[in-house]
């Protein structure tokens, strides 16, 4: 295992006590355990409090637009599919603004690891409901509570038979590290939805709230059994399952391309002779 110090130690812009502080070291440990030195991994993030996380890591980073981390990561991975790419952002960014990319990423199955800091609220914009806010969650923007049904990212991912679907909790570090590690190791698209208390704007889904409800799936649980996974993905409320909810083994997207078998695009020169042949088709 690599030394955690190589990932640096930065000042953050997070609120004291925020769940994000529990996720950051877990990510470092998972990177170290996965043997990824700083330059051997690329992080892509969006905008929000969670999306700042990779700034607090000594790694390659593209911090793009709110909601658009997945397409950037997809492009980066296809350009160089020998480089591991990790997407890290908030629930609003990932499932709200970025909802369409979430669906597409699951279907495309590019080998990406997606870490979602799910605090069930828009933190950086000061506490409006996020897609995962529970029904009835009261905010200034939703003074009578949220009317919409919450978005269940796990249910959608399992419904679309995503390659790897897991849930973790910021308050359970070892398990979280394990989930991230497995997600990195699993080929294809891998989601880790991380329950993350927001101490400033979410006074309902607190550390205690999660702690009282979360349990880890038993070893007997078979994440390859789709109907069971579907039901598990729906469990929420009094009991919240943590662990690998569903696993699939579809070929990663990039493995389909003949032209990527030998070398990543980033190392491929322009073959002039082939270009000459190509032009002949237009004669």
């Amino acid at each position: 295992m690599l030394d955690l110090a190589i990932y640096g130690d930065y000042e953050t812009a997070w609120c004291p006590g925020c769940g994000n502080f529990r996720i950051l070291p877990a990510v470092k440990k998972a990177l170290a355990a996965s043997n990824l030195a700083p330059h051997q991994v690329t992080f892509v993030s969006g905008i929000g409090q969670a999306a700042k996380a990779p700034h607090y890591l000594n790694v390659n980073l593209f911090n793009g637009l709110h909601g658009r981390s997945l397409p950037v990561a997809t492009g980066a991975r296809l350009a160089n599919h020998t480089q591991p790419v990790i997407v890290e952002s908030g629930d609003g960014c990932s499932y709200g603004e970025g909802g369409n990319h979430f669906l597409a990423a699951i279907r495309r199955n590019v080998d990406l690891t997606m870490l979602v800091h799910n605090n069930q609220v828009y933190g950086l914009t000061k506490g409006q409901a996020s897609p995962t806010s529970d029904e009835g969650f009261v905010t200034k923007a939703q003074p009578h509570g949220v009317y919409a049904m919450p978005f269940n990212p796990l249910a959608v991912a399992v419904a679309l038979q995503a390659n790897f679907v897991a849930r973790a909790f910021a308050g359970l570090e070892d398990h979280l590290v394990e989930m991230i590690k497995q997600a990195i190791a699993h080929p294809g698209f891998a989601l880790v939805d991380i329950l993350q208390p927001c101490v400033s704007f979410n006074k309902v889904n607190t550390f205690g709230w999660y702690k009282n409800r979360c349990y880890t799936l038993p070893d007997s649980y078979d994440p390859t059994d789709w109907p069971t996974a579907m039901v598990k993905a729906h469990e929420w409320g009094d009991k919240i399952p943590l662990g690998v909810i569903y696993k699939n083994n579809r070929l990663p997207f990039e493995a389909h391309f003949a032209c990527l078998q030998d070398m990543p695009l980033v190392r491929q020169p322009v073959a002039k002779a082939k270009f000459q042949e190509l032009l002949a088709h237009f004669q």
């Binding site: 980073l61 492009g75 480089q83 003949a258 032209c259 000459q276 032009l279």
Partner: protein, 567 residues
């Protein structure tokens, strides 16, 4: 003997095989040494409606389409009714004898005698071969090449129909009014439309990634890239939407490959936030916008130049960019290349602004000198950057060394927030000002690399026609016509519309007695831009915004009736 300038128009419903006949004929013409300018006009539907494919043909180089039709190939009766008014006096109409209507200009052919409904295209080609005076073997080879891959088993049957049609035509001693003058310049040429040329130019420069969401008239760019993907080593990905497309391209570019997107107005509208992202993160990206008439869905399959100001100002905040607007298919190839080079060098979004007319306009293009075509070198040498590596290091040119993530031990940190030189988010307002200045300094470099507009004609003309993009041919030809009539005339054609360098052209504007702006929109956007950059107000305008391309005739008629004042 024969025609030195023939405008042939094939018209019919979508799905009738019109494009098949036209494409094979065009290929045969190019292989026979003719120059061509194709204008495609089609509707936003798959079957039915009324479509046309016009081929202007000449043994000498031609640069514009023409409105007047010399030879009308009518695949249905509607075509005759619609296009009769556009016919020249000595023209010919070719129709199936089963169609009604016709006078002495009409040649009726009993297609059912030598073809079934399925092979009637082949019969048309036979008749056309004879009427135009083409080499049977060349046409049949083009036909074979077209169908070959799809249905090789058809060769014998096609040959029979083709021969029968040619023979019928020979025996009938048909009128020779549309026979072409022999081609004299037999050098090999490519048959390319604007979109294909853009795709090929990009490939030659080293593009490795394209993401797109289908949108007429841009789609054939990614499709051309896709067809070459296996051979050339490209990834061409259909994205879930245009927002994803541009963000994917930016991701690919960040990771180290020349990347592009292609779209049209509405799709580009969705990319606008991404444009700003490329500007802020200083990520090279080529954005092709093939214009069609707006607003909103507008006329999806027609042409316009209504998005110049939109593209120029697309994206929130301020950052440098360049907009290239090719005037010919050759320029599509070369400016697509140049755009990729500029994007990489200045690490900013670069635009190629075309339109449906040019996108779909086939031309005979001289082969490119492949050996001399350089390819884009992506990023800097990791061994040469000062340590610690800083993605946004302050420099005099504003251009910072660009490394690629994972290809060295240096870390590459890019941020859409305002950032410090090392790429990390900052709210330091002094750094903010410095970073704005740094980014905008790159504009000076871009300005220094602007290609001046082409000036053709009299040095102090009575009339100066100014235009940009795909109207170039029409304007040059209109100017040439006026010159033959003794007018002191000149034309100024922009193939780069941003940045504008007044020193390149203001004197031309000032020395002409009268200046007329020719552009394919209703508001005179280029004229406004010229005034903004020079103070010079162009007072006479020729504008078109009915979805059709500007032709030499359109320009001449507008001039004759006194070009309009500004709106």
């Amino acid at each position: 003997m024969g025609r030195h300038d023939l405008n042939l128009l094939i018209g019919g419903e979508a799905g009738q095989g019109l494009v098949t006949i036209a494409m094979i004929l065009t290929k045969a013409l190019v292989r026979s040494g003719y120059f061509i300018v194709v204008t495609q006009s089609y509707q936003s539907r798959i079957r039915g409606g009324h479509n046309t494919f016009a081929i202007r043909i000449s043994p000498a180089e031609i640069i514009a389409s023409r409105a007047q039709v010399d030879f009308l190939v009518a695949l249905n009766e509607e075509t005759i009714q619609r296009h009769r008014p556009e016919m020249s006096d000595a023209g010919l109409v070719l129709v199936d004898e089963r169609f009604a209507g016709g006078n002495d200009q009409v040649l009726k052919v009993p297609f059912q005698e030598f073809a079934t409904d399925r092979s009637v295209n082949v019969a048309y080609l036979g008749i056309l071969t004879q009427l135009l005076g083409l080499d049977e073997a060349v046409v049949f080879q083009a036909l074979e090449d077209y169908f070959g891959a799809k249905k090789p088993e058809m060769t014998a049957a096609n040959q029979a129909v083709f021969t029968k049609a040619v023979q019928w035509a020979e025996e009938k001693h048909l009128p020779e009014t549309v026979r072409l003058a022999p081609a004299t310049d037999r050098r090999e040429r490519l048959m390319l439309n604007g979109n294909e040329a853009i795709a090929l130019g990009a490939i030659s420069a080293g593009v490795k990634f394209c993401a797109f969401y289908p949108m007429t008239p841009s789609t054939s760019i990614p499709l051309t890239l896709q067809a070459a993907a296996d051979t050339m080593g490209l990834v061409v990905e259909q994205a879930e939407d245009e927002i994803a497309a541009i963000n994917m391209a930016i991701g690919a570019s960040y990771a180290g490959v020349p990347a592009m997107v292609a779209t049209s107005g509405g799709g580009f509208a969705l990319m606008v936030e991404g444009v700003s992202l490329a500007g802020m993160t200083e990520t090279p990206v080529l954005i092709v916008v093939a214009q069609r008439p707006g607003p909103a869905t507008g006329l999806p399959t027609r042409t316009e130049q209504g998005d110049l100001e939109f593209v120029l100002h697309a994206g929130h905040g301020e950052f440098p960019r360049a907009i290239l607007a090719p005037g010919t298919v050759e320029e599509c190839f070369h400016l697509s290349r140049q755009a990729l080079f500029l994007a990489e060098k200045y690490q900013t979004p670069i635009f190629l602004l075309t339109d449906q007319f040019l996108a779909d306009s086939y031309r005979a293009v001289a082969p490119f000198d492949i050996d001399s075509l350089e390819t884009v070198k992506v990023g800097n040498d990791p061994a040469m950057v000062p340590e610690p590596y800083r993605r946004y290091a302050f420099t005099e040119s504003g251009i910072s060394p660009r490394l690629l993530p994972g290809l060295s031990e240096h870390l590459v940190v890019c941020d859409s927030d305002e950032h410090t030189p090392d790429g990390h988010i900052t709210e330091d307002l002094t750094v903010r000002r410095q970073m704005v200045d740094k980014r905008l300094r790159k504009a000076a470099g871009l300005r220094a690399e602007v290609s001046p507009p082409a000036y053709v004609g009299h040095v102090s003309p009575d009339l100066l026609l100014v235009t940009w993009g795909s109207n170039r041919g029409a304007v040059l030809e209109a100017a040439a016509t006026l010159k033959t009539k003794g007018q002191k005339v000149a034309a100024l054609c922009f193939s780069q519309v941003w940045p504008l360098i007044p020193e390149h052209f203001l004197d031309y504007l000032l020395s002409a007695r009268e200046v007329v702006m020719v552009e394919g929109n209703a508001l005179g956007q280029m004229a406004r831009l010229i005034r903004r950059e020079t103070g010079f107000e162009i007072r006479r305008h020729i504008r078109r915004y009915d979805g059709l391309p500007i032709t030499p005739e359109y320009v001449l008629q507008a001039l004759a009736s006194g070009a309009t004042a500004a709106r």
